[in-house]
């Protein structure tokens, strides 16, 4: 009779030699520290220039103080917030800010997308020239461009009126001033936004457009059904930038061209804040307004980021 013997499974491997603990501990701890050391300079800058002023603003917002080192700051609790939130000029400034944001969207989304899509057909040296041209306005200091634009917008001899065949006193007219601020701010950021869209388009694999072309899509269908949806992370990012930063981008132009006027027609929230602080020398109201805007923009940013995660389709 044959005896059947089961083949044993391979023996478990011998446990590895215990590491020499004492010698390894210190380097490992140092290694864990390394990333924080690299981050330290940036963190230090953030703390000094962002978080410390933020805390100071919180502190300042509960005081009434006229910025003079010699005059005393009196503690007023939440009174500053109450007054800022109930001030009629706040509502106006929010309205102006929203108009500027909406007015900026064509310059940060629509035109850049159209230009970037068309520019894909430009190659070689012409491409570099085009990119330089489109990006140039970004490099012009807003105060410098404001001077030039003021001259161009001159009601009697300005080039704008002559080209358009109009007789508008742009900066003295409530609507005209707002339009001028929007267009000039848009002109500044247009190239930047176009470059971001171009970069986003480079990130969309050409293979999808090729597949769609073979599948029978016309160029227009490829753009609308494939390219733009795949570009959505970039578009959401630009929307976020526009919503959060339009008020900031327009500030230097408002300050140099219209000083918030005529009336309050171009007073956006940051210009209002600035007026509180440095026109009325009311540090408490300025700080309170600043904190309110900070909290509101934080909430807006959170909503938009959450939305962008939902909307964006990252290909892998």
């Amino acid at each position: 009779m044959t005896l059947l013997v089961e083949v044993p499974a391979p023996a478990a491997p011998a446990p590895p030699e215990p590491a020499t603990v004492g010698r390894r501990r210190l380097p490992r701890r140092l290694r864990a520290l390394a990333p924080y050391l690299y981050l330290a300079p940036a963190l230090a800058l953030l703390v000094v220039w962002t978080y410390r002023p933020l805390l100071q603003a919180v502190q300042l917002s509960t005081y009434s103080w006229n910025l003079l080192p010699t005059s005393p700051a009196t503690e007023v609790g939440l009174a500053n917030f109450r007054e800022v939130l109930s001030a009629p000029e706040l509502g106006d400034a929010v309205g102006v800010t929203m108009l500027i944001i909406v007015g900026m969207l064509p310059f940060t989304i629509v035109v850049p997308v159209v230009v970037a899509l068309l520019a894909r057909q430009v190659h070689g040296r012409a491409r570099s020239v085009y990119q330089a041209l489109v990006f140039a306005p970004m490099l012009v200091a807003p105060v410098a461009s404001a001077a030039v634009w003021q001259w161009l917008l001159d009601p009697s001899s300005g080039a704008v009126n002559r080209v358009l065949g109009l007789h508008v006193n742009w900066l003295a007219d409530a609507n005209g001033a707002l339009v001028a601020i929007i267009v000039i701010t848009g002109w500044h950021v247009l190239g930047f936004a176009t470059l971001i869209v171009s970069a986003g388009l480079t990130g969309v694999d050409d293979e999808y457009a090729a597949a769609a072309a073979v599948d029978g899509a016309r160029p227009r269908q490829i753009t609308w059904r494939i390219t733009l949806p795949l570009l959505s992370p970039t578009l959401v990012f630009l929307t976020l930038m526009t919503v959060l930063l339009s008020a900031q981008w327009s500030f230097p132009l408002i300050d140099t061209l219209t000083q918030g006027g005529p009336g309050t027609a171009t007073t956006n929230i940051y210009y209002l804040l600035w007026e509180y602080g440095f026109r009325s020398f009311d540090a408490g109201h300025g700080a309170a307004a600043g904190l309110v805007f900070f909290v509101v923009f934080l909430a807006v940013a959170w909503v938009l980021v959450t939305m962008s995660d939902r909307l964006s389709f990252h290909d892998d």
Binding site: E207, A210, A212, G216, Q221, R225, L230
Partner: protein, 407 residues
């Protein structure tokens, strides 16, 4: 289904010639595999057929219609991409339905056709998912579904299996072959994998540096390779290629090299060429056609020493260096396990002379031994579609009996 014809198709990127003038005829219902190493121009060729790349020269014809300047969407061809190119923002259902939707098909019809294709490919439960939520095999099937749903004139496939693991590749291969048989579809299939080519193709077109090296059935390209490139590309391991000197002697032609003295089949050499004349040749023998003999055996024209033996499970490979020197030519022997060899053994190797292939060392083209033939013909009579341009080279003696081509 459609017939696809390419004539003189060419693509150059500046000085780089990706595709160097291809003539090819893919018959209606044929499964033609474009085979070649990476970078030989397969994808470029396929994309020119699809209309995604404009050729530098030549024409593409689909069913007698010249479509060289026709937009991809009007060529009635479907393509499966190596990356699958599934639209990441669309569900499986919308991906498969995309070709119908962009053609303005009604929603109800699209849904019906997509459901049918999905059922056929086992995708019904995945229709609501996005590509990111699919495994590699499932993505591959969605890509196939998107091609199938339109019932196109022909399918173009660019390495559709190369992103699958080995096991899945084998089953998918069988599935594709089955699908082709059922639909009688025209398929132009690109791969660098010779196993895919051998198992799936009606005909194989081997591409070498943008040129066609040979076109023929899998058996033809394997059994009668038209050039050293084809011989050295097909087979795992590929054909052993040795530089030899052919000498006409009193008893016919002998091929000799270090550790090799082989009588080539008599083709009347003695009558045509003067005794003692020589000619350089490349001699090819497939590893599985070498037979292990005892060292010094009289019927073993190869004499050498075993360098290493590899165990493939059912078979063994032995790498042997020929002659006495360590840096002699190396041949690989393939046979049922055990071969009975160990590293360091001295060994003799025999081969059936009918299994020996000869090539011209300069052109690399195949030399046919056909005694008495004087009518010029293609060097590979078994594959009539072999392109004429690379085959007809000045000074090529492939169409003449070997002995006559001796100087």
């Amino acid at each position: 289904m459609s017939r696809i014809r390419l004539s003189g198709l060419r693509k150059a990127y500046g000085d780089t010639v990706a595709v160097a003038g291809i003539d090819l005829d893919v018959a209606d219902g044929e499964f033609l595999v474009l085979l070649g190493p990476s970078g030989c121009g397969k994808s470029t060729l396929l994309r020119m057929v699809a209309g995604l790349i404009a050729p530098t020269g030549g024409r593409v014809l689909v069913d007698d219609a010249d479509v060289t300047d026709v937009a991809p969407r009007d060529r009635d061809l479907a393509m499966v991409f190596q990356s699958y190119a599934l639209y990441p923002h669309l569900t499986v259902e919308s991906n498969i339905g995309f070709p119908l939707r962009v053609r303005g098909e009604r929603r109800a019809v699209v849904r019906e056709k997509v459901a049918a294709v999905a059922a056929e490919l086992g995708l019904t439960d995945l229709l609501r998912r996005r590509p990111k939520q699919l495994s590699g095999g499932q993505r591959q099937r969605v890509a196939l579904g998107r091609a199938l749903v339109r019932e196109p004139g022909a399918f173009l496939m660019d390495e559709p299996l190369s992103n699958l693991d080995a096991k899945l590749r084998t089953t998918t291969r069988a599935g594709l072959t089955e699908l082709h048989r059922r639909l009688r579809a025209t398929v132009l299939y690109v791969t660098h994998d010779q196993v895919e080519a051998m198992t799936m193709a009606d005909r194989v077109a081997l591409l070498d540096g943008g040129r066609l090296a040979q076109v023929g059935t899998p058996a033809e390209v394997y059994d009668t390779p038209a050039s050293t490139f084809v011989a050295g590309f097909l087979g795992a391991p590929p054909m052993n290629l040795l530089d030899v000197a052919a000498v006409v002697g009193a008893h016919g032609v002998r091929a000799s090299a270090a550790g090799l003295d082989l009588a080539l089949p008599d083709d009347g050499a003695g009558q045509v060429s003067p005794e003692g004349s020589r000619r350089a040749l490349v001699l090819g023998v497939r590893p599985e056609h070498l037979v292990v003999r005892p060292p010094g055996a009289a019927d073993a024209p190869f004499r050498g020493r075993v360098l290493a033996v590899e165990n493939l499970g059912s078979e063994e490979l032995a790498r042997c260096v020929l002659g006495d020197a360590d840096d002699g030519p190396v041949v690989t022997v393939r046979g049922a396990r055990p071969l009975g060899l160990a590293a360091g053994d001295h060994v003799g190797l025999a081969v059936d002379p009918a299994r020996v292939h000869l090539f011209d060392p300069d052109s690399g083209r195949r030399l046919e031994r056909r005694p008495g033939s004087s009518t010029p013909s293609s060097p590979t009579p078994s594959s009539p579609t072999t392109p004429t341009s690379p085959a007809v080279e000045p000074g090529l003696h492939g169409d003449r009996p070997l002995a006559r081509s001796l100087p």
